[in-house]
Symmetry: C2
Subunit: 206 residues, 2 copies
Amino acid sequence: MAPVYQLKFFNFMGVAEPIRYLFAYGGISYKNVEVNKDSDWPDVQKSVPFGKLPVLEVDKKVLYQSVAISRYLGKLVGLVPADDLDAAELDAIALSVYDFGAKVHEWYHESQKERKEYLQVELEDIWLSKYLREFEDIVQKKGSYFGGQKISWADLYFVGIIESIEGMWGSKLLEKQYPLLYRIYVHVHEIPAIDTYVSNRPHYKY
Amino acid sequence: MAPVYQLKFFNFMGVAEPIRYLFAYGGISYKNVEVNKDSDWPDVQKSVPFGKLPVLEVDKKVLYQSVAISRYLGKLVGLVPADDLDAAELDAIALSVYDFGAKVHEWYHESQKERKEYLQVELEDIWLSKYLREFEDIVQKKGSYFGGQKISWADLYFVGIIESIEGMWGSKLLEKQYPLLYRIYVHVHEIPAIDTYVSNRPHYKY
């Protein structure tokens, strides 16, 4: 019998969106549990590993950390290369995408005014172009995707997180300056199962 | 022919120590390149992915992100379980160990006095006991190690990072309050190849 999957995250994209993409890509059914940050979260937080979401229950096992969950699902749906070194390169890319998203997330949720301004300037002056330029360079060296000629879970991870980053930042980031990354973005959205998912998902702002 | 490995990191333990453990465990030769933070770093930083260390060159391929490198080496030396779900659980643990180390690292390197004090209070009041208690609970549920009865790369990752955390924090953290974690710490150090490595390594303070 197929395992029962239950994904717990807030009612926005965030680091869960690549997981939802991977479920869509693989045509795998799962229960998407939306945790309301104001009402449900205090109780839910006490019940999940290290007090963090997303959490993926696979039957009775509890997976956490979006990169670990996404790699696991990526393997399941055939998007992890067979060669261990090639696979490890994609792990490093996904972890760097996560780091990039975490920087934007930190700025977005900072409540102290001065620190928020400081983080915003850092993002504008350094991190946005630094991360996106390096990602663009990797794709250029590799070919069409992060892993070369074949799409991988790292591409889905990147696109899912970029959608969330663009939502927090308030503007599109790829189309004008990063044509290879934008092409990955478009290609991922053109996958029929992902197109269907995106067309029907709730309107999450980030 | 065996690949040529070259590990680049600063002249301290940090997130490279689990990688050095894994090389020792597997009896794998590598070149340990120590980057001096004051003199060498500005130039090296421009040459490595996302301006960060550690970097592991495997022949001409460049791996980065300590968790990705450690998982790769873990697989190579037989410390990743064959079952994908079991393997993913260890990924999530290693990523949580990384997060914990990153919090201590942020406090240690913060130069702004008020923010450093704020981060220190957070560590003392929340994070140190939160992370270590959850890690201890995981081991309790699993058995002797993070993955159950058998040692894995997550155990080596934990012990390598904890050594660095204790170095930054300035005191031992496990022995009195976290007996199962302390037992893992002792067991890892008792592995002859790791004992030899630790006995001969340079005196890194963290």
